[in-house]
């Protein structure tokens, strides 16, 4: 029995050492981390009231700060990352950079509200924090620490070895050439309608996920968003909820819409709804329902900016 216990203890030690110090995913998590850090650096460089878009990849693909900024007449940072990245991590990174008078627009994907605590704890941010950002991890609760320590599974280990090897051999990520990259505002650019044409069969096959109102109300993501809205209200930051983009043939049902709206309004935040409720034909998308193609991204951003300008005008009128 002693040998069994020794094998178990050794296994745990090797696992922790490997995931905390050795294994890394420079091609996938590295890209995410670089994007997050670039956005944070941009946020740190802005003086005065700003607009920050916080979401998953719906933020960066379907919204364009380059377009929004001149309309709302204030610096805009597109901090949309990916649905899997924990909202608590994003909020922990951005809260120190937000000040009274700032506006945060949250066109969060429906899946963000209903992510379970367990899933949220095992997102890519867990590995990023454990390996590269322990300062942020220290600001989060103890169970988040423990979960980050045990966030790596066999797939992560396999992918780490593969990515480390590819990176060592100078592998260049072909994605920017194939699907575009990021501009200085944090917007995704270059995901043109021409490139999107290659994905039409993929887009046609997608069956979007729509959680029920009850799932949204009970979701762990809802708890995190509510916490952030309370923080924002207490610090003079104006949080504005919004709807993610989606297919016009797959609308969010009324009860779920009401549940999303209620999260914001119950915490004194605002909620913006476009006349089309951010629904577009499948031909306006790039590769998923969260990613408009570039032309539609610009058109959607103009509509969002006009809706948000009401808040910026109001803020500017109130500022001394």
């Amino acid at each position: 029995m002693r040998r069994v216990l020794l094998a178990c203890a050794t296994s745990l030690l090797i696992y922790i050492a490997a995931f905390a110090c050795l294994l890394d995913r420079p091609l996938t998590l590295g890209v995410l981390r670089a994007h997050i850090e670039a956005n944070i650096a941009l946020g740190q460089s802005v003086r005065g009231p700003k607009l920050v878009i916080l979401a998953g990849s719906n933020g960066s693909y379907s919204h364009r700060c380059e377009t929004i900024q001149p309309i709302v007449n204030r610096p805009c940072i597109n901090a949309g990352i990916a649905v899997g990245v924990g909202l608590d991590y994003l909020f922990a990174r951005w809260e120190p950079l937000l000040h009274a008078g700032d506006i945060v627009y949250l066109p969060l994907e429906e899946a963000q509200y209903v992510r379970t605590r367990a899933a949220a704890y095992l997102g890519p941010d867990a590995a990023i924090m454990l390996r590269h950002d322990r300062a942020t991890l220290e600001t989060l609760p103890l169970q988040r620490w423990i979960a980050a320590l045990f966030a790596g599974d066999l797939r992560a280990a396999i992918m780490s070895l593969m990515e480390i090897t590819l990176a060592d051999y100078g592998f260049r990520d072909p994605r920017p050439a194939a699907g575009g990259g990021y501009n200085a505002w944090g917007d995704h650019v270059g995901h043109t309608a021409a490139l999107a044409a290659l994905n039409q069969s993929t887009l046609a096959a997608i069956k979007p996920f729509h959680p029920t109102a009850a799932e949204i109300q009970a979701g762990y993501g809802t708890v995190l968003v509510s916490g952030f809205l309370r923080w924002a209200a207490a610090h003079g930051v104006l949080a504005v909820g919004g709807l993610p983009t989606g297919f016009i043939d797959s609308p969010i049902d009324d009860a779920s819409l009401a549940a999303i709206r209620a999260i914001y309004r119950d915490h004194g935040a605002s909620f913006v709804e476009l006349p089309n409720q951010s629904r577009y034909p499948r031909s306006a998308f790039f590769d998923t329902q969260d990613h408009l193609n570039e032309a539609a991204q610009i058109a959607h951003s103009i509509a969002v900016a006009e809706a948000l300008s009401h808040f910026t005008d109001w803020r500017q009128a109130r500022s001394p």
């Binding site: 029995m1 996938t28 797939r155 490139l195 994905n199």
Partner: protein, 503 residues
């Protein structure tokens, strides 16, 4: 309560074992056995207490019929009644809707809830009645030596076991839910051992080690491949046209999932039984390494294969009949094997395919020299993998959709990054940004799943199974897998049930 949940591992097992060994030490084996039966019933009732009376009633009924069989001259009549009653109960709960829709296709479904483990505990008890009818229950049947079943483990016990011991045998929690389908003559004598409830450190150590290795198979490997398989098969069920790699990767993943899932479960059952001083037979012996389909069935779900051979195939004539009759017997046995897995045409088709493979193999062997081992293994593996498609698919149309994808009927797509890096692929594959039904449909999903599949197939094709490993290799395997099992047990957001629970 499943073997791979925290409530079972941290709650049920410590309470069950401490009570069993404490009662065994201070009150004797009979009290320990009573405690074990109570734990078994609690374990069963955890899912749905409403089905507990069915299990208890079935045990009592079968023991009564067995008593009658021992005390009557009309053995055949009482055996017929016993087997018929068991099959009628199984038929009602498992096959009523299926049979109804064969007879009356437009009839509304009866919606009979399938009691957990009914296929397993029914078969166990049919075996017991048949053995009693043959005058063989409690005596050693044909002894097939194996690493888990050394010749010394089979002991004899004449006569009908007492109800308590019989109940402990049928409801014994390590095999109650999904097997192995153990022979009464193997297990009941072990439960009669006066030292049954004496903790033996070597058995506890071996049992814990085998259990943890089985846990790793389930949580680390089976569940990982299950996620890959579900995406493809669910898409096929929704009518999506899967491309070549999406269809093949889903099928290859399912072949690994079902092996790691069920053999992992069997290892956990063997380990748990070993801790309780009971030895179970081997249920999986690296089946994907089989050189032909007959060997596959001697290595896959060995206890079900043994049951079908001894209680269906041989009574129907077995190898003693002519080639035509033998072919019919093989087909009937394998169709019943398919039907045992579920009341759906998909399972019948799966059983029929395997029956066909076995018939072809037998005829080939009769007429030609055996194929080279490597070629035989490749052909066997291909046949087995293709046959998993109807087994896993939701319906016959989705089976056809999946097979069409595997045949390249919906084209071949590859991620654009792969085609950009390796332009020669452009000749055979259409470049796409992401493959929506491959893993998480991310940019690197294709190489990720490729690497996972490579690892999985290397494990099943190249490495010895848990029971063929020596002690040293087992400990190294535990060192490599334990932390990943713990990670999945305590932190994974979703625990997938064992696949064989549905049967």
């Amino acid at each position: 309560m499943m073997f791979h949940t925290t409530v079972f591992i941290l709650g049920f097992i410590p309470v069950c074992l401490s009570g069993f060994f404490t009662l065994g030490r201070f009150c004797g084996a009979a009290w320990a056995l009573r405690w074990l039966v109570a734990c078994n019933l609690f374990f069963y009732a955890w899912w749905y207490p409403g089905h507990l009376p069915l299990l208890v009633g079935s045990v009592a009924l079968n023991h009564s019929i067995a008593w009658k069989l021992r005390h009557t001259e009309q053995t055949r009549i009482w055996l017929g009644i016993g087997v018929g009653l068991n099959l009628a109960i199984l038929g009602w709960f498992k096959y009523a809707d299926f049979l109804l829709h064969i007879v009356v296709p437009n009839a509304s479904a009866l919606h009979v809830t399938l009691p957990l483990a009914i296929s397993f505990f029914t078969f166990q008890q049919i075996m017991f009645l048949v053995d009693i009818g043959r005058g063989a229950a409690g005596t050693a049947a044909e002894d097939r030596a194996s690493p888990e079943r050394p010749a010394t483990m089979v002991r004899t016990e004449p006569g009908l076991p007492p109800l308590l011991r019989y109940a402990a045998f049928v409801t014994f929690f390590p095999h109650l839910i999904a097997g192995p389908i153990v022979r009464p003559s193997d297990i009941i004598p072990q439960l009669a051992d006066p030292d049954l409830a004496r903790a033996r450190i070597d058995n506890v150590t071996d049992g814990v080690l085998i259990f943890l290795l089985g846990l790793g198979k389930k949580l680390v490997l089976a569940d990982m491949f299950g996620k890959f398989a579900d995406i493809g098969f669910n898409a096929a069920a929704d009518g999506t046209a899967l491309t070549f790699f999406e269809a093949w990767y889903a099928t290859l993943s399912y072949a690994l999932q079902i092996y790691f899932d069920f053999s992992g479960y069997s290892d956990m059952a063997i380990g748990l039984a070993r801790v309780l001083n009971v030895r179970f037979p081997l249920n999986f012996d690296s089946p994907y390494q089989a050189a032909n389909i007959a060997e596959f069935w001697r290595r896959w779900h060995i206890t079900l294969g043994g049951f079908l051979r001894d209680y269906v195939y041989i009574p129907l004539g077995g190898n003693r009949t002519g080639p035509l009759r033998q072919t019919g017997t093989v087909m009937v046995t394998m169709l019943l094997c398919g039907l045992w897995h579920g009341a759906a045409w998909n399972f019948v088709l799966w059983g029929g395919l395997h029956g066909g493979f076995l018939v072809i193999h037998a005829q080939y062997r009769r007429l030609f020299r055996p194929l080279p081992a490597a070629l035989g293994q490749i052909l066997t593996l291909l046949a087995v993998i293709v046959a998993w498609v109807p087994f896993r698919a939701a319906s016959l149309p989705s089976t056809i959709a999946m097979l069409r994808g595997m045949a390249g009927g919906n084209g071949i797509a590859l991620p654009r990054m792969i085609v950009s890096a390796l332009p020669s692929f452009a000749r055979i594959a259409d470049p796409v940004t992401v493959m929506p039904f491959l893993g998480d449909a991310r940019t690197l999903s294709f190489p990720e799943i490729s690497a996972c599949l490579l690892l999985g197939w290397l494990i099943v094709l190249m490495l010895p199974n848990v029971h063929r490993m020596n002690d040293r290799v087992r400990h190294w395997t535990l060192t490599g897998s334990f932390a990943l099992s713990a990670q999945a047990l305590f932190f994974a957001p979703h625990v997938a049930p064992f696949l064989y629970f549905q049967f």
